[in-house]
Amino acid sequence: MIMKRKTIAYGLAASAIGIVVAWAALAAAIIPPFAAAMVFVIAFPVLVLFLGLWWRAPGGEGDIPFIGY
């Protein structure tokens, strides 16, 4: 299962934009802290994974897991 680089870039951009918007909205007191926290809880894991995947998006073929020496 290999994700396309374009899909990963969209996911990365969406999570980054979500975090920045929530951070700005919280700073401007437009949204309460718990709403910002909910956005961060959802967007932060996506940002962490997609940043790495975007960096190494070409990846490789899936293989059979390590099953012993």
Partner: protein
């Protein structure tokens, strides 16, 4: 708030690096540098990554996202001083996530790690008794109320040391290389983590960093009380070093012994709580 998340993940990884260093020095080995776990997380972020053919793709990826998500939520719960019941519900969810890591990969080592995570759910039982005892003293499970109680009566660590010891053992059961770390035992390669490599392993590292920070911060807040943030970090480091000493001088228990000892601790705590309930007005 996002800055807290990033700081907690990095500081948690640094604490895990200190943990490895202290264990190594006690065992007269040089050990890795203290920032090794941070380097690991960065290194894995830039490794080639794919999903093994035998894995359940959706679960394999989802558990990593959920792992980071639940400990991010736990951090906000602790920082906001909300209910410790939510915090411990998240702790229980982590057990399900560990199980998911192991079962999703299709590797026998991962599966054994996942099965052991179910066995090690025994470590959560002292947690329930801990919660009951905290409520008996403070009359609340809201972290703000617990710290306010300690502001008046002094640290719970001194008022109810057995409760602190039980919670300490719960935190110990989550530390790598500890006596209760049966889920990552070396005979299972890396336990439930065995088949999560590359970016997935980096996500696991971030989860571990957040988890370590949250558990130690919660321990300080619940048993020491409200202290300045820098002081909390110092106390967390001191608690971690004491945990490292325990891990360094204690062999890893077999799954059966691990569950038996945690069951005994729960029994002792139950007796303590019943006595408290009997004598307290």
């Amino acid at each position: 708030m996002i800055e807290y998340l990033v700081f907690a993940a990095v500081f948690g990884l640094l604490l895990l690096g200190v943990h490895r260093k202290v264990i190594a020095r006690i065992q007269t080995r040089p050990g890795p540098p203290v920032w090794q776990e941070i380097l690991h997380a960065l290194k894995f972020s830039f490794k080639s990554t794919w999903v093994p053919k035998t894995a359940s793709g959706t679960l394999y990826v989802a558990v990593v996202l959920i792992g980071i998500g639940i400990w991010s939520a736990a951090l906000f719960v602790v920082l906001a001083g909300e209910s410790i019941l939510i915090l411990f519900a998240i702790y229980m969810l982590h057990k399900v996530v560990e199980h998911g890591y192991g079962l999703s990969s299709g590797s026998p080592y991962g599966k054994f790690g996942g099965v052991r995570s179910v066995i090690s759910a025994a470590s959560e039982i002292p947690l329930f008794v801990t919660i009951a005892a905290i409520h008996l003293f403070t009359g609340s499970l809201i972290l703000r109320d617990i710290t306010a109680y300690q502001g008046i009566h002094g640290p719970l660590l001194l008022i109810a040391p057995p409760v602190a010891i039980a919670m300490y053992i719960v935190v110990l059961s989550k530390m790598p290389y500890g006596p209760f770390s049966i889920v990552e035992s070396k005979e299972l390669v890396s336990g439930y983590k065995t088949e999560h490599f590359g970016v997935w392993r980096a996500g696991l590292a971030v989860t571990d960093g957040l988890k370590t920070f949250v558990l130690l911060y919660a321990f300080v807040a619940i048993f020491i009380g409200a202290v300045p943030f820098w002081a909390a970090l110092v106390i967390m480091t001191a608690v971690l070093i004491s945990l490292s000493f325990v891990c360094a001088i204690t062999p890893m228990l077999s799954p059966f012994d691990s569950v038996t000892i945690q069951g005994l601790i729960t029994g002792l705590m139950l007796v303590y709580v019943v006595c408290l309930w009997w004598v307290m007005p």
